[in-house]
């Protein structure tokens, strides 16, 4: 009996240590990224770093604003294309499609999310870039090409999270609306989507996070010019691509500046997560209230 108690105690503590270890990893990541990146911010100056318009490592100019703006453009354009498409197909899957079609769509979306990002990038490089070059002119390496690839890459994220949200709308809401004589579409538009909205917003924020963080797929098709683009067919360089492109040979301040860009990325992602969590908790559907 006592043996049992001792082993129960040890197992509980062992599992607890595992859990703590899990959190410790995040702290170690934060410490090491900040340790390498902070010197750059203090040397270059926070303002010059974040709002500087010129990134010329060889001339000691480290302004990441063009890359921040490129990242924002690429992400926004991808969201503009991905959000409507994914919401429509989620509603199609959960509310309208017959079972057989549903059974095709679900694995299709799982497969889309499983395809490695480099494969997406490679597809973009060999198919989309020439296509854009021939259709719209320019080199084909552009903001638009990058956001097309990102659109496909964030579809599964937005679809799966918003699908959970739409599924968790209580059946009674839908039934009440239908029994009042509303059509399916009226029910979807006036009842289901508003009720699922917090979850849908969370899905969009998570998709946004994925788009901001994507590196190689974007880098392979974006052209990587570190300037603010004037049109969507001009090349762009995102924050993530910049790190991946230059880390291989960066030294001293340059090296630290790349880590400092990682800090910016890290903080952006944390902020997005906090907002997503806040929305989800604040506007949780209260199922008990019906």
């Amino acid at each position: 009996m006592d043996d049992n108690k001792v082993s129960e105690f040890l197992i509980e503590k062992g599992l607890f240590i595992t859990t703590i270890f899990f959190i410790a990893i995040i702290l170690v990541i934060i410490i090491f990224i900040f340790k390498e990146g902070y010197p750059a911010i203090s040397k270059i100056g926070f303002f010059n770093f974040v709002f500087g318009l010129k990134w010329h490592p060889s001339e000691n100019e480290f302004g990441v604003l063009p890359m921040i703006i490129c990242s924002i453009y690429v992400t926004m354009l991808a969201l503009i294309m991905a959000v409507p498409l994914s919401l429509l197909s989620v509603i199609f899957m959960t509310e309208i499609a017959p079972d057989r079609l549903r059974q095709i769509l679900k694995p299709a979306i799982e497969t889309l999310s499983g395809i490695p990002s480099v494969v997406y990038g490679f597809f973009g490089l060999t198919v989309l870039v020439p296509f854009i070059r021939e259709t719209f002119g320019g080199t084909g390496f552009s903001l638009f090409t990058a956001s097309l690839i990102l659109t496909v890459m964030i579809l599964p994220t937005i679809i799966s999270v918003s699908q959970d949200a739409i599924r968790s709308v209580p059946k009674e809401y839908k039934e009440a609306s239908l029994s009042l004589g509303a059509t399916d579409w009226q029910t979807i538009k006036n009842i289901i989507v508003p009720a699922a909205l917090p979850g849908i917003v969370t899905a969009i924020i998570l998709g946004m996070g994925r788009a901001i963080g994507e590196t190689l797929a974007v880098m392979m098709v974006a052209g990587n010019v570190a300037e603010i683009p004037n049109s969507i067919f001009e090349p762009v360089r995102t924050i993530t691509s910049n790190i991946a492109l230059e880390m291989g040979y960066a030294t001293n301040v340059h090296y630290q500046a790349l880590f400092a860009s990682a800090i910016i990325l890290f903080l952006t992602i944390i902020m997005l997560l906090i907002v997503a969590n806040y929305i989800q908790n604040k506007y949780k559907i209260d199922i008990g209230s019906i």
């Binding site: 129960e8 509980e12 062992g14 599992l15 607890f16 595992t18 859990t19 270890f21 899990f22 959190i23 990893i25 995040i26 170690v28 990541i29 090491f32 990224i33 390498e36 498409l85 429509l88 197909s89 199609f92 309208i96 499609a97 769509l105 299709a108 497969t111 889309l112 499983g114 395809i115 490695p116 990002s117 480099v118 494969v119 997406y120 490679f122 597809f123 490089l125 496909v152 579809l155 679809i159 509303a182 059509t183 399916d184 579409w185 009226q186 901001i212 963080g213 590196t215 190689l216 392979m220 993530t240 790190i243 991946a244 880390m247 291989g248 790349l258 890290f266 992602i269 997560l273 969590n277």
Partner: protein, 284 residues
């Protein structure tokens, strides 16, 4: 809505039905087009020779054997490290922890870990495993980075799986005089295995597909890695290098195809096995 006055609800319904079907169709077409294109271009390149021989001329010709080995090797290392950690933490959070604050912190931590951009993991892997811990450019460094990336997926999916085991299972076990750990080990975990395996597979799929996270920790060697301290060049990294350095488009298609097929096989086989197990345990 103004236009609802012009368009009757019935017509609006019909229009929307078409819009919905089109959007569903677009998703399927995107998938078919991408996978179809890669396979169409890549399958002619693949033969036994391509799979079992070493690359020659820095990847321009020859096969991808060392890359396949590297990919499987780093994924194995990642799985061996991340699986026990992920399941352990999930078990603790689902069954032991009574402090909702700790649970909240751990969940947020796991979400954070899941959303950190892969290139940030890449930087971390370089400064921590390669330089600070002196593991060098190696399978071990790469595998450790990938383990961290796979960990949140394994944790999150396993936690849901463990929490969703009906209480009656536990009560039955306690009623027979089993201790808490005996109940977890013999009743809860076996019942949660389908869910846990899904989590492990999703995590490892993420690991095997990753290039940015390992590009500064695993090296880029063309040699087949033998020891865990040897450098390697996993398939996604190889594909990235072939494609961007313009080395060989043909071999790039072949590599992409192998990568896609590998991910498809893992997904299909694991779904099948998990379903079988689930049916067996449910007595169907």
């Amino acid at each position: 809505m103004n236009f609802s006055k012009i368009i009757s609800p019935k017509i609006a319904q019909k229009i929307m039905n078409v819009v919905f079907i089109i959007s569903g169709a677009i998703i399927i077409l995107i998938l078919i087009f991408i996978v179809g294109y890669i396979l169409f271009k890549g399958i002619p390149v693949i033969n036994l020779e391509f799979l079992i021989s070493n690359p020659t001329n820095s990847g321009k010709s020859g096969g991808i054997f060392p890359m396949i080995v590297s990919s499987l090797y780093v994924t194995l290392v990642a799985g061996l490290i991340a699986t026990p950690l992920g399941i352990g933490a999930a078990t603790y959070i689902a069954e032991y922890s009574k402090n909702s604050r700790i649970v909240g912190i751990i969940r947020f931590g796991s979400e954070t870990l899941a959303s950190i951009p892969s290139i940030v993991f890449g930087l971390f892997g370089m400064v921590f495993f390669v330089v600070f811990l002196h593991l060098g450019w190696s399978i071990l460094s790469g595998g450790l980075v990938l383990a961290i990336m796979a960990l949140p997926t394994i944790f999150q999916v396993s936690e849901v799986a463990i929490s969703s085991i009906p209480n009656s299972y536990k009560e039955g076990s306690y009623g027979l005089g089993a201790t808490k750990w005996q109940t977890i080990y013999k009743v809860i975990l076996p019942a949660a295995i389908p869910g846990i395996s899904t989590g492990v597979i999703l995590g490892l799929t993420r690991a095997i597909s990753e290039a940015a996270a390992v590009m500064y920790s695993v090296g880029a060697s063309f040699q087949t890695p033998i020891s865990i301290f040897d450098p390697g060049r996993p398939l996604p990294l190889h594909l990235y290098m072939l494609a961007t350095e313009g080395t060989s488009l043909e071999n790039a298609y072949g590599t992409a195809t192998i990568l896609v097929i590998l991910v498809l096989i893992i997904t299909i086989v694991s779904n099948y096995v998990i379903n079988r197990y689930q049916n067996k345990i449910m007595g169907r």
